[in-house]
């Protein structure tokens, strides 16, 4: 494959238009099939028994009574999911999270499961399972868990990354450090220094569709899994490994997805459903309740972050330092490390140092959540940056422009940047009418910047041309944000045909080569690259077929605007051949026409955004109202601008919820107090203004069309932008997310009382 992924600077016909998505009508009419909409003849209902304790040793599980209940077809515990991970610690953690082995590590941890003929029987069976727990002391707070006096969650863990090998086990699994220069020296040159500590509470991705799957294991050892996921190939790998199956014998089909945001990149119930089906010999459908979704899936880290930034009077930052402590749930993670990498990525810094600590707590295993770890780090850093600008007496936008990273800057996490969008988003914000709009009483404006890496990864795509000239595109990245429409536009663009001639589907794991998940904002970036490559391969065949039809050399056939065109003086009398005409003759010229592509999409361009928001605070109640919100973000090239805008708005909406009201609330008993949408408060429509967007297009040099991922960056700035706005409106610096009314009122009162 001689695929050239470099940006070509070409003009576009289809890309950049806004056609209706192919999955749209089915979704708005209720026909679309989500995870729980799939059914099989003879299927059983699977239910999971979960620990009510935050931390407990499992002495014994007696399932005998449940097994005797009429209608119960299988009961499983960890014994039915034996450890086949062969020393792979990360896989072992996944296995233990799916079904607790020796200890329940959080409220909601799965300890057993049943498959029964109906939901009522399954529920009754759960009540008949007797678990003998030895309750252990627990810890749910990230700072508390770091103390020497904290209960140890895993006594085999010794902190990695310390200069001296520790002699005692710890809840801190790892220390990481990033940066360059000498911060000590840098602070010596500073005229102003801001130093603050921040906290953010744990949030859930809040997808509306709960996890759901149907597993069917056949007696010949092959199996099917229909599931709501962001990555069916990865689910296949993980499930096959945990169940001791060959990957090719497990076929995974992804359903439509009612939100994932990173939370559907991890297996939770799927290996359990497969194990139940294997034991019962019948298909098993397992759908989590909302309560289970909150208690056992997701969430993101709770954090505690210290930031110190120094600058000269002229506004140049001389040094920046941060210590970031992120909760991982009860299993090792690399969440603080990502926070440490992203914290200062927006800035050009001579002296920068970030240190991350991964901390175990008795909460669910931390999962990826849209630009995981970056929003909390940005909250702390961008709050301090705002405060520093104020101390120097500079406009916060000007201060950021002065210190913004640019092409050639060595980033705080190591690599040197190519062409990037942080400067342009700041310039766009500076000139945006929103920045000049008047503010009323008790209103404040805030702005903040955000960064995300974006990923590429393994991608495989098939493009098949039917005899009628229509094109079916089979991709392996799950469509979470309109990618089938975007990829159809790309195929149409490359082939030179109309969008309506292309139909894209998400193929199952037996129909395509391996694809990484739809995560890291990679779906459209990587699958569009593979689609361009597949289309170019198909065009090569189309040209060969045209040459055959004309009986001329393929070297004399060019592909222009959806047609084969004969080149050269001696072929001047030949008319053009359309894709449709060539396809109609394909049976006589060598058979079906298709283009295939498999590649590793390298060079996902980094992404930057700057947000502005206006907030009104009721000083008597601490109540907030988001009055206006503007997102400015670099898309590289917006393939389908409406869906790019949708990503910008969606990330901002989630960030607003996180900033203002969403949080996991644990009782003293270590139990989650608010596992439902009533008391876990995501914003409702009437809580939000229309979110304005501005798309910038700074082409990614590593993609033929200049595309960058757009899905995640939009959730990075909101916590900070809103914190800056609330702080300006209330006249007091807010340092604890979410800024719920009680926290805001308490801060206002404390400020009043001095």
């Amino acid at each position: 494959m001689n695929f050239d992924p470099r940006y070509s600077g070409r003009s576009f016909t289809s890309v950049g238009t806004r056609p209706i998505r192919p999955d749209g009508v089915d979704k708005v009419t209720g026909r679309a099939r989500y995870g729980a909409d799939f059914n099989m003849a003879g299927q059983l209902v699977g239910r999971i028994l979960r620990s009510p304790h935050a931390h407990a040793k499992i002495r014994k599980i007696d399932t005998s009574k449940a097994e005797k209940l009429p209608g119960v077809k299988a009961v499983i515990t960890a014994k039915d999911l034996p450890d086949l991970t062969d020393g792979d610690a990360a896989m072992y953690d996944i296995l233990d999270n799916c079904m607790a082995r020796t200890k329940a590590l959080y409220d909601g941890h799965a300890v057993a499961a049943v498959a029964a003929v109906d939901a009522r029987t399954a529920r009754q069976a759960l009540k008949l399972i007797e678990v003998d727990y030895e309750i252990l002391p627990h810890v749910t707070d990230v700072d508390e868990a770091m103390k020497h006096s904290a209960p140890l969650i895993n006594d085999t863990i010794f902190t990695e990354g310390l200069e001296e090998k520790p002699v005692k086990p710890s809840n801190v699994t790892k220390r990481t450090q990033y940066g360059h220069g000498d911060v000590h020296e840098g602070f010596g040159h500073a005229d102003f220094v801001v130093e603050r500590s921040f906290k953010t509470e744990q949030t859930h991705q809040g997808y509306i569709e709960p996890h759901a799957c149907v597993a069917s294991v056949s007696s010949d050892g092959t199996a099917d899994l229909w599931v709501c996921t962001q990555g069916h190939f990865v689910y296949r790998q993980h499930c096959a490994q945990l169940l001791g199956m060959e990957a090719s014998k497990l076929r995974v089909t992804s359903s439509e997805i009612g939100g994932g945001f990173g939370g559907k990149t991890h297996v939770w119930a799927e290996p359990v459903a497969l194990a139940l089906s294997r034991k019962a010999g019948r298909p098993v459908k397992l759908v989590m309740t909302r309560d289970e979704v909150f208690r056992a899936s997701g969430p993101t880290s709770a954090t505690s972050i210290d930031v110190k930034i120094g600058a000269r009077k002229d506004g140049t930052i001389t040094a920046a330092e941060a210590t970031l402590r992120y909760s991982c749930g009860p299993y090792a993670g690399m969440w603080a490390e990502i926070g440490a990498m992203t914290a200062f990525a927006c800035y050009k810094l001579e002296n920068v140092k970030t240190v991350g600590y991964e901390v175990l707590v008795n909460r669910p295993k931390t999962a990826a959540y849209r630009a995981p770890s970056a929003p909390m780090a940005a909250f702390a850093v961008e709050s301090a940056v705002d405060e520093l600008a104020k101390e120097i007496g500079m406009d916060p936008v000007e201060f950021r422009i002065r210190n913004a990273a640019q092409e050639g800057t060595r980033s705080s996490y190591g690599p040197v940047y190519g062409p990037i969008g942080i400067g342009p988003t700041l310039e766009a914000v500076k000139n945006h009418p929103h920045m000049k709009a008047p503010l009323g009483k008790n209103q404040g404006r805030g702005m903040a910047c955000g960064f995300w890496f974006n990923f590429g990864g393994q991608t495989c795509t098939d493009l098949n041309i039917g005899m009628d000239g229509s094109v079916s595109l089979a991709v392996g990245t799950v469509d979470v944000g309109g990618s089938r429409a975007s990829l159809s536009l790309v195929a149409a663009e490359e082939l030179g045909i109309d969008y309506s001639q292309v139909k894209a589907i998400v193929a199952d794991t037996s129909s395509l080569g391996y694809n990484d998940m739809t995560d890291g904002s990679r779906g459209t970036f990587s699958s569009s690259m593979a689609t361009i490559s597949a289309a170019r391969n198909a065009i090569k065949i189309l040209r060969e077929r045209a040459a055959q039809m004309w009986d001329i050399s393929v070297d004399d056939v060019a592909w222009e605007q959806g047609h084969a065109v004969a080149k050269g003086e001696k072929h001047g009398n030949l008319g053009k051949l359309s894709l449709k005409e060539i396809a109609a003759q394909s049976g006589k010229t060598g058979g079906p026409i298709a283009g295939h592509s498999e590649l590793v999409a390298d060079g996902a361009g980094v992404s930057f955004a700057t947000h502005i928001c206006d907030i009104e605070v009721d000083p008597e109640t601490g109540s907030t109202r988001v009055l206006r919100y503007t997102v400015v973000q670099d898309a590289g090239k917006a393939v389908h601008p409406t869906y790019v805008e949708g990503q910008y708005q969606g990330g901002a909406a989630q960030g607003i919820g996180w900033a203002l009201n969403e949080e996991y609330i644990y009782g003293k008993d270590g139990r989650l107090q608010n596992p439902g949408f009533l008391d876990y408060r995501i914003p409702v429509c009437s809580d939000l203004p229309m979110i304005d967007t501005q798309i910038l297009e700074i082409p990614n040099p590593n993609h033929p069309y200049g595309v960058r991922g757009v899905g995640e960056t939009s959730i990075v700035p909101p916590l900070a932008a809103i914190a800056n706005a609330v702080s300006n409106a209330a006249g007091v610096r807010m340092t604890h997310i979410p800024m719920s009314p009680p926290r805001i009122l308490a801060a206002i009162e404390a400020e009043r009382e001095g």
Partner: protein, 286 residues
């Protein structure tokens, strides 16, 4: 589980009185069905009262209004006379859940669910509403505030059903108002709330007042001292500050996932003040 849909109140009372296990009354179901789905309750008998014709009506009587137990809150908002007489009660009913929920839920259900945070209850208490109860021993009428006895508990005896909520005609130069605090704009439960009903004389001096607080104690509180802070005065700054202080002091709230004790106290006072100002304006006060 047995589900029945009686056509008369007598039949409903008889079925409830004669049932052996646990039973539940189904009107809108916006509390009951959610609790059943969550696995919190599994009643042996469900009595759906929506087929009892008289329970689905709002009647204007010689004394005022009779709001049937099965009347959805949305219907309260469509009754011009009720809205004019008791705007505070109607606005409270129209705050429950969302538009969709209001199409099903009822103020009687809201009362009998016996949540201290029930939105319509402080407004009903402030308005001096009464509950008309049908039971095996005949009918009786009690003050609305006497129905809930604690979170999830009522004073209703076995077999008793609230048939209607009774509201008097509003006295001249009177107004009521209800405000609640939620962190969002809708689809939420009151963190704390206040209902105020007052009557003024021609000079704008408060002659009578009732102040009720929600989510401030195990049951909705009727704060008599708060009424006294208003009676005999115009609604000046001092009276309002006194009202806020008394209400904050009267609260016996808890710290929970929805708010802190401190927050509830402060905001109870703020809401009482604001509701009093609205009620005063509605009464024609300036």
């Amino acid at each position: 589980m047995r589900y029945i849909r009686p056509l008369s109140i007598e039949d409903a009372v008889g079925q409830l009185a004669g049932s052996a296990g646990t039973s539940a009354i189904l009107a809108g179901g916006s509390d009951l069905l959610v609790r059943m789905k969550g696995g919190f309750v599994e009643p042996d008998l469900i009595v759906d009262i929506k087929a009892i014709a008289s329970l689905g009506e709002i009647r204007e009587t010689a004394d005022g209004f009779s709001i049937g137990a099965a009347v959805p809150c949305a219907v309260l908002g469509e009754n011009a006379a009720l809205k004019k007489a008791w705007p505070g009660v109607v606005e409270a009913a129209k705050l429950i859940g969302s538009k969709q929920v209001q199409g099903r839920c009822t103020i009687t259900g809201n009362l009998c669910n016996a949540s201290p945070a029930a939105d319509s209850v402080p407004a009903l208490v402030a308005a001096g509403a009464r509950a008309l109860i049908a039971g095996p021993g005949g009918k009786r009428t009690i003050a609305v505030e006497a129905v809930p006895t604690g979170p999830g508990k009522t004073s209703l005896a076995k077999g008793e059903i609230i048939e209607a909520i009774l509201l008097d005609s509003q006295a001249p130069r009177s107004g009521d108002a209800y405000l609640r605090f939620i962190p969002r704009t809708e689809m939420d439960i009151a963190v704390v709330s206040a209902g105020v009903n007052l009557t003024i004389d021609e000079q704008g001096v408060v002659k009578a007042a009732r102040v009720a607080l929600g989510a401030a104690a195990p049951t909705v509180l009727l704060v008599e001292e708060a009424a006294e802070a208003l009676i005999g005065r115009k609604l000046d700054e001092a009276a309002l500050e006194r009202l806020a202080k008394v209400c904050a002091g009267a609260c016996r709230p808890i710290d929970d996932k929805r708010g802190t004790i401190e927050f509830r106290r402060k905001v109870a006072g703020v809401l009482a003040k604001r509701a009093a100002m609205t009620a005063y304006a509605r009464a024609g006060g300036k």
